[in-house]
Symmetry: C2
Subunit: 370 residues, 2 copies
Amino acid sequence: MDRRKFLGAAALATAAVGASACAVTPEDLTAATAADPSLPEVSWQMATSWPPLLDTIFGGATTFAETVSALTGGKFTIDVRAAGELAPGLEVLNVVEQGAVQCGHTASYYYVGKSPVTAFGTALPFGLTNRQNNAWFHQGGGLEMMQAFYGERFGVIQFPAGNTGAQMGGWFNKEIQSIADMEGLKMRIPGLGGQVMDRLGVTVQVLPGGEIFQALQTGAIDAAEWVGPYDDLRLNFQQAAKFYYYPGWWEPGPTLEVQVNLDEWNGLPEEYQAAIATAANVANTNMMATYDAKNIPALAELMSSDVVLSPFPDDVMQAAEGESFAMYDEIAASDPDFSSILSAWSEFRSGIQGWHGLAEAAMTSYQSIL
Amino acid sequence: MDRRKFLGAAALATAAVGASACAVTPEDLTAATAADPSLPEVSWQMATSWPPLLDTIFGGATTFAETVSALTGGKFTIDVRAAGELAPGLEVLNVVEQGAVQCGHTASYYYVGKSPVTAFGTALPFGLTNRQNNAWFHQGGGLEMMQAFYGERFGVIQFPAGNTGAQMGGWFNKEIQSIADMEGLKMRIPGLGGQVMDRLGVTVQVLPGGEIFQALQTGAIDAAEWVGPYDDLRLNFQQAAKFYYYPGWWEPGPTLEVQVNLDEWNGLPEEYQAAIATAANVANTNMMATYDAKNIPALAELMSSDVVLSPFPDDVMQAAEGESFAMYDEIAASDPDFSSILSAWSEFRSGIQGWHGLAEAAMTSYQSIL
């Protein structure tokens, strides 16, 4: 990447919003923008991590592209491609970093192998909800820190562009009455959640979506997590396991993101940069709204079968939270970037959990009618 | 208003997104948009309901205007004016309806005197949270219904553009141990929440923000609600009353909105219409994030005084919910528009409360550490 150009982008954002914040958000771009009657035609491709079958999460990418086009009178078009077309689903960041593709729509935490810092871009076990992530990214310094890290490390700039909400805890072929029942269970669960499960004595397996149903039905695994009612129903898990647990404490509000190669970003007119940032925000709201709306009938359909819906026992929640933060401390001990962001994130997390523990929690818990 | 132009706008939206939905959202506008190298300079004024002192809610209007400017290379500028400058704070819709001002930023429910339907645009007691409102507006048919009503009735089109989150229940000069303690209480609380309080035996008073502190301190009133920690702290309520209750069940996630005169809207290039719709979405996210971030230190400051923080007793919540829905049925009996939207809204509310009662409620309640 061209380091000078990255610093230029950061300086632009800082100049526009003052010293107190420098994440690039739409309103930051006003000051430096001048009317330009001859905006260029720009055609990009977008690599995504999603098969079109996962229409809600894939829809985040298409909502983004359609909004960019609408904002620019069709001059800036982005061709959204399914996982595997431009890059394998878990290698979107790689091709955007290399500049082989201009932009992508993916989950930051797919790239924890490159750096554990990427987890903060999506979800950490016992981390932030959808709304808490929005607050941390946009008004808690989170996006500023994550953009600085992505710029330095990958030559990429990213924008939150989707959320699933708190996920379900998955499908189990037996009842979980206490933490002892987790011991020795064979469960499909990837990522940091899987690492915490491993610390709880679970035998962790990682399988792609298309292989989970058969593994669960044949008893090759005892449990599997995926997303929530709408997506889970499509994979028919209710026909392979009876006990459906919540919450998916490893993903309390995972954020998806648009990633843009910084050299490509720096070559855009400022109106188009603003279009990317605002279109990502529209995708962020719209994917969450779509999951919420689609999960309502999906949940009703699941409940009409003989599914047993239960919260995880308290001792599972407590043991898992303890192991999660022990793991974060271990990662932080050998990774200064992770350590620095963990510290800021943990302070914000405590504060907003305290605040949301009052009116929000009381309202939500009063509404819990199931 | 020009009815043909409004129908034109609705037809445009319908054509762009298909038959299943016709709320005007950013992604809807793609199909009909053509590249135009000569976009016009447009300068609008915006009337708001807010004094700049309420910087977070006023900030929703300025974020909106700055984002529109950034998206259009500074060609489309909106001059945001404080309450009282272009119109009294509670008459924004009136001046936008008349076309005296092109657009406004206000709360729909300030205009329940014009029609009780306007309450659905902001908040009803025991209604939707921030995220539930987003889902209902954008993917539950809510914005479509509300835009159709506003178009027909006022010649105005509106877009959600801010939220405070669940508000606090206010400041009381005595402990509320049960519903019996509400009887005869003199409380400052406006709107539908005030009407429900009246049904609970509370003597309801409506006072502007600047007069509440003195009334509470002198004992002219026994209780008052405002917004939440950040805004409440600015008015120093903690020095006038000791008992701080939650949640503000009358405002579980009130939405603020941008209102645009339909004749002005129809005169805009489609890129500028898309800029308005997407900029409103940015303001919606950003105001919520700003309230969340600012409430954290404000709550800590309040807790360092001798404030007693408590949830409303269960019997207060239950009695208030019962009276709320009895009141909605009474309004519906004499207002077919209200009746029709109430029916759709109630069905969506039940569904999403069931869904949010699982993973979201479990995660939020586990996080409730105060």
